[in-house]
Subunit: 595 residues, 2 copies
Amino acid sequence: MSTPVLTLAQLNAAAPAAAVAMLDGVYEHSPWIAQRALAQRPFRSLAHLKHALVQALAASSADEQIGLIRAHPELAGKAMVSKTLTAESTNEQSKAGLTDCTPEEFAQIQKLNADYNAKFGFPFILAVRGPRGLGLPKREIIETFARRLHNHPSFELGEALRNIHRIAEIRLNDKFGADITLGNDVWDWQEQLSVHTDPGYAEKGQLTVTYLTDAHRACAAQISGWMRDCGFDSVHIDAVGNVVGRYEGATPDAKTLLTGSHYDTVRNGGKYDGRLGIFVPMACVRELKRQNRRLPFAFEVVGFAEEEGQRYKATFLGSGALIGHFDQRWLEQKDADGITMREAMQHAGLKEEDIPKIQRDPARYLGFVEVHIEQGPVLTELDLPLGIVTSINGSVRYVGEVIGMASHAGTTPMDRRRDAAAAVAELILFTEQRAAKDGDSVGTVGMLEVPSGSINVVPGRCKFSLDLRAPNNAQRDALANDVVAALKDICERRGVRYELEETMRAAAAPSAPAWQQRWEQAVDAQGIPLFRMPSGAGHDAMKLHEVMPQAMLFVRGINSGISHNPLESSTNDDIQLAVQAFQLLLDNLAAEQAH
Amino acid sequence: MSTPVLTLAQLNAAAPAAAVAMLDGVYEHSPWIAQRALAQRPFRSLAHLKHALVQALAASSADEQIGLIRAHPELAGKAMVSKTLTAESTNEQSKAGLTDCTPEEFAQIQKLNADYNAKFGFPFILAVRGPRGLGLPKREIIETFARRLHNHPSFELGEALRNIHRIAEIRLNDKFGADITLGNDVWDWQEQLSVHTDPGYAEKGQLTVTYLTDAHRACAAQISGWMRDCGFDSVHIDAVGNVVGRYEGATPDAKTLLTGSHYDTVRNGGKYDGRLGIFVPMACVRELKRQNRRLPFAFEVVGFAEEEGQRYKATFLGSGALIGHFDQRWLEQKDADGITMREAMQHAGLKEEDIPKIQRDPARYLGFVEVHIEQGPVLTELDLPLGIVTSINGSVRYVGEVIGMASHAGTTPMDRRRDAAAAVAELILFTEQRAAKDGDSVGTVGMLEVPSGSINVVPGRCKFSLDLRAPNNAQRDALANDVVAALKDICERRGVRYELEETMRAAAAPSAPAWQQRWEQAVDAQGIPLFRMPSGAGHDAMKLHEVMPQAMLFVRGINSGISHNPLESSTNDDIQLAVQAFQLLLDNLAAEQAH
């Protein structure tokens, strides 16, 4: 990292041309971006400056955007070989080891460069410097390159711009000597915890941690150890395997703020889903302890043992146990190897009879907050690091089938068909339009099949699934009623029939307004715009919602926000902002309590 | 069968009330149908009368139609037990053995009666008397009953009315002493030929006759034998297994009229597909021989050995060989047991070196005509026994895939999706509407699948097939261009991409106008309305089309016109009309040639 030469105060005070010069090299050969963004001065924070640059590019013309992308060198391309790269690019490409390719790697990258340019008309852009200034492994760069070659052009344009912003962010961090220690530390915890994975996955390089396996128990031990290192007053593993760390308040009778998320994963999952919500508050406690600060309330961070329902069908087991929702019948469930949950718990030294004792008394708690990676594309597409959750969506799911009449595709005139697939096609488009009308509802037909379909047979049957979600139950029910009514109408009009089975119905969990507002204050103070959004996925907060007020904070996921996938990822910069926001929420809450 | 008491001349001449009385009992308790139909007098033929009755019912109100159905007794129901059935119903139910049920069968039928009435609100109607006045087997009646219970109400209403017309037709045949000997004889040939079936199918009661199996060769021998019995001058099995029968013309230098169809079947196929086109002209030759009549042209009836491409991928092998389209590479193809076509031909005693010799000289032929079961629902839904084919549709087939981006169904807002299935849904509906606009084009997405779809994942991929057909190549190409353009537009608008592979393109075979007109004259003379229609399926006539003029006649298929299925069926009455039409075509052609 180069020596910091710049402060925000200097930038805010500089004459226009001098200010542009200060940001020289942040966007490759494109000072116009800095020029436009600087009109937004003064900047409240580095994050504010970064967002102003993002906005300047977003408001530019398509030609300007393509021009910016084309101003970038190819990866390990001619400019690198002829040593005509900018100083910044030389630094980045060399840290990624690209100046040190084998002839095979070099040839492979040249082929990818040619194919990519032929398809998209601009060079491949990847932010090749990771956290702590380290380069990405060459293997990962080549894999990402090959994967992105398959993207749709309109999507890949966005990916290129997002990577340019990420490159700019890293260059700005260097320029301003940004302190992202907290983000880097959380990043390191994520990385280190991900070495534990269930048997059969490690050799494939996959992360899988399911309830009470050896890897799962190693994770619990690891999190407990880190919590102790951070200075929690007490750390223990409870009767269902939750890791519970407490940092006591200034007085013994103080109420408790509860937070946390889960440390189990889906099969071949990501490193951030759940775990980020344990490590972000853990970093906050470490900082409090370093400052020897006590808050006027106790702070309890729980790593929930089970949320994903992978080994046993017992989703939200960890957070559910805290509100007394442990179903005794789960104990008889067997995993794929025939091991019952009871046996797994005994093997882990957990005491079934202690489970009721971990139920919390809501009267002793202020509320529950949870930090979670977004698991969706919204924040990344809007170039926003953090989002305020307004509600965890309520949902309803169905599986269904339309039954028409199979007939000869050549001899059955269009007006004499009873085409089951055409009926489902109408349902798909209706669902799409009806959900879009709400703005914040979603509706999905994820499973779709004409069983044993033939190219020359009008479909007699078509199977499908329906997943409908909305931020509150009334909106969800109105959506579901309209979609089911449409299915009925479509089938009546087409002279086909349908079968539909409701397989799940979950209530919405709207954020408690006061707690949502606390997150908003904390995010606003980072100098970035507030963005409110529902959570489409379920979270542990849904369980706590049943007994106490709750609100969640979302952190942007990169790679289109993909989740339940090894590509799930975040950045040290975004995590840094999340820790800072959480610290501020604690500070503000302390100030409130002091009054 | 009761003694005939009535002639059409008497009916045409009778006073209105007397005429209604003459038709008493044809439609159960519903003399109003006869009353309305009689306004169409004079009737040119019994078929004309039958059609007038059909039209009278078609023009009646929904209440009148339901009333007619409800005027029918339940099968083996209370009226049968209490002996209050009409004389006609008693006769029919007793011939079907329904008056002689076991207690189990009786209980089963009562349960079906109750379920059926509860679902549709009217009793189950089935024409239980088959050809030659025999009843349908009880087992078949119960199976049909159970199957039809699953039909859509709007479709089952049509089935009930169609069965009522069939019951009326049989009752009218009795009243007028209709001569349906030719139809019955062809019916018998169909039944008898269907005893030959490939190994593994007989025990399942299924009909399967594929190229050069023992069953196939038994069929060839059987058809040859019958041709000889009918009085063909020469009968032989040619180098590819076609059965060729010739009935020579009045002079040795006379040109030849060619006809025929195939005797192979699909797996678990029907008895009529192909074979009807051999037996109908065979009956014509028998009648010519009986009358010792010679036509001014020779008449050649060919049972084509192979059309369905089941054992080997060599569709239209039999008719293709007659126009010199035998692909030598086919000989190396192996069947599922590893037997090459060459080995199969050697085993059957066929001589590969003779194949080129069977190519016909078109200059020696007047043209080609073919009778075929419709294999579609049009004629049965319009209550028409025969249809005039205007063209064998040209077709084009594709298999394709839309590639979007899989994402979380809960967290991906509707306006940020790249849903592959929704794109295909649009394509399905576009194809449906675009094909319908032509009136006589058809377009089908028969295969449809989201591979490994999940209820909570926005589809990232969706596979589909496309089958597009139209009566001429220009119309087919315009349809295909519009559908492919729509796919492109849909994918561009949705930010997804597609792959599309054309797997088949077959030219249309429009009927030769002069030959189509000959069929029209022959059908019109039967007293039934002309109905012109394209053939959606391919036929042997497509091959002969390449070297000589051709035209086809369609015969109604009952059971919704289902084909490639054991339910494929025709009636002795419809076959009788087909034979009569063919006889007239020969007579008219003879008269033309005489001039």
